[in-house]
Amino acid sequence: MIYEKAWIFWVILGAGCAILVGIGMLLVRAFAGPTVFDRVLATNAMGTKTVIFVSMLGFIQNRPEFIDTALTYAIINFVSTIALLKFIQHKRIG
C-alpha cells in the first residue's frame, strides 16, 4: 500500500530528512558555541529550518493545517530571537 505513493512523495520525504540533518548540525553548534551569540545564531537558523520542515510535513501527511503551524513557528522564532538579544544587550526586556 505504501508503494502506491507518487514519487514526488518520496522526494519531499528525502528533502525533509536533509533538513533534519541540517538541524542536527546546527544543534551541535548551538551546544558547542563559544559565545552566547553563536548559540542565538544557531537557534535562529534552526527555527527557519523548522518552519521549512513543518510545512513539508504537511505535504507528507496530506494535512494542510500544518502550514498554519509553520506560520506560527516563523513568528515565534523572530520574536524570541529579538527578545533574547534585547535581554542579552540590556539585561531586561522592555
Binding site: 541540517g22 551569540f37 545564531l41 529550518k49 506560520l71
Partner: protein, 114 residues
C-alpha cells in the same frame, strides 16, 4: 497534458534539491567556520534563499489539498514573505548585539589557533 504534470513534478524536485543543498551548505558553514562573524555570513546568506526555493517547490504541489489549493498556496506565500523580511532583520540584530558587546572579528593578527 500529461507532460505538464511531469514537468511540474520535475521542477519541484529540482527546486527542493537545490534548496536542501543550500540549507545543508549553510549548516555545514555554521558548524565548521572558525569565527562568529563568518558563521553569521554562512547562516544569514543561505537561510532565506533556501527557504524561498523550498517554498516555491512546495507551492507547485498544492494540488495535494483538493479544494484548498488557493488557501494553502496563500499561506505558503505568507510564510515566505514573512521569513524573507524578518531573517535579515534577525541576522542584523545578532550582528549589532555582538558588535556592541565587543566581539572582535577573527584576523591573522589575533589568531589564537595558529
Amino acid at each position: 497534458m500529461q507532460w505538464l504534470l511531469l514537468a511540474r513534478d520535475i521542477l519541484t524536485t529540482s527546486l527542493l534539491t537545490l534548496g536542501c543543498l543550500i540549507a545543508l551548505t549553510g549548516a555545514a558553514g555554521v558548524l565548521r567556520f572558525p569565527d562568529f562573524y563568518s558563521r553569521l555570513h554562512a547562516a544569514g546568506k543561505t537561510d532565506s534563499l533556501a527557504q524561498v526555493l523550498i517554498m516555491l517547490g512546495l507551492l507547485l504541489q498544492t494540488h495535494k489539498y483538493p479544494g484548498l489549493e488557493l488557501n494553502a498556496g496563500a499561506r505558503l506565500v505568507m510564510i515566505t514573505l514573512f521569513v524573507v523580511f524578518t531573517s535579515p532583520i534577525a541576522t542584523h540584530a545578532i550582528t549589532k548585539a555582538a558588535h556592541l558587546h565587543g566581539l572582535k572579528p577573527w584576523t591573522r593578527e589575533n589568531d589564537s589557533h595558529a
